[in-house]
Symmetry: C2
Subunit: 329 residues, 2 copies
Amino acid sequence: MNWQYAAGSEALQLDAINRAHQLIEPFVVNTPVLQNAYLDELSGARLYFKCENLQRTGAFKFRGACHALLQLTKAQRAAGVYTVSSGNHGAALACAGDILNIKVTVAVPRSAPAVKKANIKRYRAQIIEIEPGMQAREAAVAKLTTEQPDATFIPPYNHEHIIAGQATAALELIKVVPDLAGMIAPVGGGGLLSGSAMVAHSQGLPMYAAEPELVNDAWASLQSGQIEPARSPDSICDGLLTNLGDKTFPIIRDHVDEIFCVSEQQVVAAMQLIWQHLKVIVEPSSATVLAAILSHTARFEGQPLGLIISGGNVDITRLPWQVERLEHV
Amino acid sequence: MNWQYAAGSEALQLDAINRAHQLIEPFVVNTPVLQNAYLDELSGARLYFKCENLQRTGAFKFRGACHALLQLTKAQRAAGVYTVSSGNHGAALACAGDILNIKVTVAVPRSAPAVKKANIKRYRAQIIEIEPGMQAREAAVAKLTTEQPDATFIPPYNHEHIIAGQATAALELIKVVPDLAGMIAPVGGGGLLSGSAMVAHSQGLPMYAAEPELVNDAWASLQSGQIEPARSPDSICDGLLTNLGDKTFPIIRDHVDEIFCVSEQQVVAAMQLIWQHLKVIVEPSSATVLAAILSHTARFEGQPLGLIISGGNVDITRLPWQVERLEHV
């Protein structure tokens, strides 16, 4: 069933998200909401971490991918799907396809980390290696569209079904912690943020976002009122390097109260705090939300806040480099 | 309320454990039970990880410490408690005392890692530094007993209240996964294992344990029928270096079906698998249970197994050394 975003149609949106949740519920993990006394003390707030790093394939992306596939007709399912992804979306789509018995093809930049390619292969998707960069990605999509004319392209974030699927994490969070004073999520392409923001606003809660200073295109887009491209995509937050899309931007414009930009040092320090005290592995992108709160403690003092932890796909054999950085923060 | 272990008194024991759970429930985290498709595939079994690394103070130890304090009389609470610990028990007791407003003194070997001392200090316990080694520990207990004659000594594992408290993790696990075919826990002093074993046997489930080959005193004790001392306590499993106690041994003798000994390399490999795929931080002691299952895949094929993950207190700034080891496994 399709829905279109329009300002003022909050009830319709929440309805679409609730239906998405019913559809995907048999397949997704209702991820735990963790708390930590030390991080509460440090922030002066009450922090509820919705741990999507503990989701299937290690990221919230599985929710949207699963939802998009469940929306396909029988004929569409039989014809298969394809996408371009170097990371979590590719693995999520591969896993959802594996469960639902739908053929998945993922075009992966040659430069993608081996561990991410392995994640996609693990779920029996077909991998096509392409050159890195936006042009090669678009060319790959065009080629796949020609080669598999009946197959469906499943974009990583700029799609209503994906957005509604990602929103279900926030939906589960407010069911567990009904008295939140606000929610915060990282922003890359905006699938997770736009979905979460619709849930938050449906409950009258402010929605915040966290973004690396080095890739602050979403912040800039809110300032200018139009989609701004990422300036220099070289942040350690490898999940947040994409621009907003024409589906995610209007929702974010209408429903996100503020985007906090955080430095690379703040991200690394927050990541270390989460690993050490919350005892879960988070990727740098996920640590942005704690970094944002820790750099605005006066603002959030005493508030019960929901933090969407987006994923935990880090290659732990590469840690020495990261730990070296951690020690110099 | 006191209970004494006696073979054949399973109903009484389960009753004591249920009462312990009711007492501590307002204070403990009902920790999540996690699953992972890849680890299931690798083991050929269905693995349910009861994540006590996500417990307050990062280990199951908080359950027993909290239970022991809740069993004190008003006069005993007012007089305070003390213990000797270089690790998780000290932090757990400090935290429980902080919550229940009971003064806690912890004698800590001078050689204990700074991060572990910091954990104890965080919860406002008084720290007394002592020399390392068994003799100094015993001397410290004797000195504290003289100095604080009204205060209560809370041992780390060899006590009925501690054992009943630790057992509550297994109790929560069987409530979430009622169709388990068996349970496995690490064994050090035996508090967690003896408690878990009583729960498992009350349900007719086999109870297994995992122990480092280098410190296989519990395995040797089961062989000889008496408490054997640890040979060479130099395993990376720093939580499992202690001998069994006279309270824990009989329970383990009567209710543990088999102890699997695992090599240091198997522990490190299992720890890496848990970090990378389950996305939670576990300490080496906790990884023994997965190591044991992965080295006995034929035996456990297709079985739904409960794995008690004991803790996650690792100093992540020391990781480069560990990761170096991980890479050479």
